[in-house]
């Protein structure tokens, strides 16, 4: 199962991944220049699932490479920083783009990171929760620093992917797709070039 982490720079994507995979946290995490991924086995409803988390570079300029990482992803964790309003705006852009490019085939979870900095919060939880609801996504507050909420965020997302796969009767995904590919055969419905291109970048 492939889950991609998207969001503005410095919202904590890499830290989130490090917390989930290694259960570790580095105060001075280096900036991510290129996507990286790591995987971990999860036990979901008596099913062993290998979850590959893909971390991406946050800056807009790297956007042209982003489809590579999200196109055959089963889910996306759209990360924002609860102390920085602009980062939620960026999440909105991502949602738009993902909906345009891969349609509903991707499970979305809105993740508000840095919940340990609750006192500096500038994004009211209600705002992001409502936004998540409006797009049919889950919303969670987490802290990569303390580890709070991260396990559950990934777990619930993976669970939702399995559920939606069942619903679709596994027809939406080409057989043999391991979830580890950087991309894959275009699976977007009616995926004409101009269609996709209208995405925001």
């Amino acid at each position: 199962m492939k889950i991609v982490l998207l969001g503005e720079g410095r919202v904590g994507k890499t830290s989130l991944m490090a917390r989930f995979i290694h259960n570790s946290f580095k105060e001075d995490q280096q900036a991510t220049i290129q996507a990286a991924f790591m995987s971990r086995q999860l036990q979901i409803d008596s099913q062993q699932v290998e979850v590959a988390l893909w971390d991406t570079a946050g800056q807009e300029r790297f956007h042209s490479l982003a489809p590579l990482y999200y196109r055959d992803a089963d889910a996306a964790l759209l990360v924002y920083d609860i102390t920085d309003r602009d980062t939620l705006e960026r999440v909105r852009h991502w949602v738009k783009e993902l909906r345009t490019v891969v349609g509903d085939a991707i499970v979305l979870t809105i993740v508000g990171n840095k919940s340990d900095l609750a006192r500096e919060r500038t994004v009211p939880e209600q705002v992001s929760a409502e936004f998540a609801q409006s797009i049919g996504a889950q919303h969670v507050s987490v802290s990569a620093k303390t580890g709070q909420g991260i396990e559950a965020a990934v777990f619930n997302t993976a669970q939702k992917v399995l559920a939606s796969r069942k619903e679709r009767g596994a027809s939406g995904r080409p057989p043999g797709s391991t979830g580890r590919r950087p991309g894959g055969i275009v699976i977007a419905e009616g995926g004409g070039g101009s269609d996709r291109g209208s995405s925001c970048c």
């Binding site: 280096q30 900036a31 580890r180």
Partner: protein, 612 residues
């Protein structure tokens, strides 16, 4: 932070500073084709300053630093920079301090002001920080940053949509060992997954400082592409045995990005030396000259996902012989869109419908490479005043008196975008292609039928494209327009034994600088030829000044490790051991060149990096 955490932090800082100090005090310095093992760290500063002040180019940039600081930049860029300065080499003591971070921030802001098109992009923070480590004056670091971005061509990778990065990644897939490429493709471990940050940051984001610094030694002196690609290919070659048994993409990528950078110091240094000593095969050289028809990353993914084999050398062969690149693989989506697009665009411009192009281009954005974007890049490159190739630390621009046009890099290093040196047999119109001046990027080929606009540069590019009726110089593809471009060896070939070597005039010349000039620019002997191939091995004196005036075409060959280095004798002795350890390898390399082995017993043949 509680007390124990504070104490821990202090210990950690001390440890970091200690390691950092070790890394910076004694270094392995790459001066042209030669490696000086275990020399004092300040020589790197001197070398880089020499590169910077060469012909006044870099110092010209440096002098604009204050002005650029006062020029405003966009809020977005300022925000992006501010976000990254704290996340650049966070383990290094230098950037753990407020002063260090502020210096880095200022240099990046100045660059963003200087280059409004590229502005700031993640990755540049590592480049600037690396420069600041060795060039403590901010203005120098800024000058050097502009030099590598603009003159050495790195900025092309950073431009919108990173088209050129994608083209380079495509090239990489074609110049790496073929069976390894096939194996990795089969398991979807394509170059974008491991090499993007290497190319963007000169390895600084993944590899230790000593590694990226040595790569930077070459980038500052020469063009960017040559050194970088060699090192990436070198890494892949060094890892071949480990990679081939792996069948898991995650493991392969993890190995390359996680494990290799942590190899021991000596092993990595050796890897670099070997990588830089390798010479391109004609096939590789052809690929490196070509970006037209390059596969975008998205295309690459589609290809590996559908298990379509990568085009073979035959493709190149056909391309070169047949005039147009032949595609053995089915055209992939964005390529064909792009062709349509280009056709549409040329129609549009003639029919006065400029908006069509814009809308079409817009529709492709976000999906990686499209040919029109290549054109933009190409156009940009031609019009930008990239510094001439002759401007290479002076090593390479001794006045050429040879009538042989193919091997005559320009000496007009200060002129700007248009070359004035003979371009060699491949380009009928040498003036327009400005071949020996051009950076490699200049030669981005563009199919003539697809060009848009009517700039002079475009016709220029059209002429330079691969397959536009080039003579069939198949076996010496890099020996014509830029034999200069592809191989350092050819830059520094004095055609006549008595050709005076130009000693560059360094503004702000210091005694140490002086030493470097001697180190780098001692007049060299004649160059020996064997057909197209350079035949002399590079030699390094092990202490005594070289006696063999005829030893090599390499201006470094006299590198007289005399007084200034004598303080470093101790370190060098350690280095000798290292050199001895690899001499078997070297010997086999050198015998391959049928060298005029005038080095004599006093010389330890140094690994050759003529191709660098």
């Amino acid at each position: 932070m509680d007390a124990s955490a504070t104490v821990l932090q202090i210990f950690r800082n001390i440890l970091t500073i200690k390691q950092e100090d070790d890394q910076l005090r004694v270094i392995d310095l790459q001066v042209g084709s030669q490696v000086h093992n275990r020399v004092p760290g300040n020589l790197r500063t001197e070398l880089w300053l020499s590169c910077l002040h060469r012909k006044g180019v870099g110092s010209g940039y440096a002098s604009q630093y204050q002005a650029m600081l006062h020029k405003g930049i966009s809020e977005e860029a300022a925000y992006d920079i501010e976000k990254d300065v704290g996340r650049t080499f966070p383990g290094l003591a230098k950037f753990a301090t407020a002063e260090g971070k502020e210096a880095l921030e200022r240099v990046l802001r100045a660059y963003a002001a200087f280059d409004t098109e590229v502005n700031y992009c993640q990755g540049m923070n590592f480049l600037a920080a690396l420069l600041l480590i060795w060039l403590p004056r901010e203005a120098d670091a800024f000058g050097a940053l502009v030099l590598i971005m603009k003159d050495r061509g790195l900025r092309e990778l950073y431009k919108t949509d990173m088209i050129m990065l994608q083209a380079r990644l495509w090239q990489l897939g074609k110049i790496m060992p073929r069976h390894l490429a096939r194996h990795m493709d089969q398991h979807c471990a394509i170059p974008v997954l491991y090499a993007s940050s290497w190319l963007l940051t000169a390895f600084a984001s993944d590899f230790p400082i000593f590694f990226s610094s040595r790569v930077m030694d070459i980038i500052l002196a020469d063009r960017y592409l040559e050194a970088m690609m060699k090192v990436v290919v070198g890494i892949l070659k060094a890892c071949e045995k480990r990679l081939l048994p792996m069948t898991d993409m995650e493991k392969m990528v993890d190995f390359l990005r996680g494990e290799v950078p942590r190899w021991p110091h000596d092993k990595l240094q050796e890897l670099l030396t070997e990588a830089l000593a390798a010479e391109w095969t004609p096939e590789q050289a052809v690929v490196l000259e070509r970006t037209e028809g390059a596969e975008s990353v998205v295309d690459a993914v589609q290809r590996v996902a559908s298990n379509t084999p990568q085009g073979t050398e035959m493709e190149e062969e056909a391309a070169e012989a047949g005039g147009t690149p032949t595609k053995s693989r089915p055209k992939l989506a964005s390529f064909s869109w792009a062709s349509k697009l280009s056709a549409a665009s040329s129609n549009a411009s003639s029919a006065g419908q400029p908006n069509l192009l814009q809308s079409l281009t817009g529709s492709l954005s976000g999906f990686g490479a499209s040919l029109p974007s290549y054109y933009d890049a190409a156009k940009q490159m031609t019009s930008s005043s990239l510094s001439p190739l002759g401007d290479l630390l002076g090593l390479f621009d001794s006045p050429k008196t040879s009538p042989e046009p193919a091997a005559a890099p320009s000496t007009h290093a200060d002129s700007t975008s248009h070359g004035d040196s003979p371009a060699g047999s491949r380009q009928p119109d040498s003036h327009q292609l400005s071949s020996s001046h051009a950076s490699d990027e200049h030669r981005v080929p563009s199919p003539a039928g697809m060009t848009r606009g009517n700039d002079r540069e475009q016709s220029t590019l059209g002429r330079g494209q691969l397959g536009s009726g080039q003579p069939s110089g198949r076996h010496r593809p890099n020996r014509s327009d830029a034999e200069s471009m592809v191989s350092w060896g050819s830059f520094r070939e004095p055609e006549q034994a008595d050709a005076p070597t130009q000693t560059p005039n360094f503004p702000g010349q210091t005694p140490a600088n002086d030493f470097l000039i001697r180190l780098c620019f001692t007049p060299s002997g004649h160059r020996s030829h064997s057909g197209d191939r350079e035949t002399s091995p590079d030699l390094i004196s092990t202490g005594e000044p070289s006696q063999g005036g005829d030893a090599s075409e390499d201006p470094f060959h006299h590198v007289a490790l005399t007084e200034p280095l004598s303080q470093a004798q101790m370190h060098r002795d350690k280095g000798k051991k290292q050199r001895a350890a690899v001499s078997d390898w070297e010997d086999s390399q050198i015998s391959g060149f049928a060298a005029d082995s005038s080095g004599g017993s006093r010389h330890v043949p140094m690994r050759r990096a003529a191709g660098v």
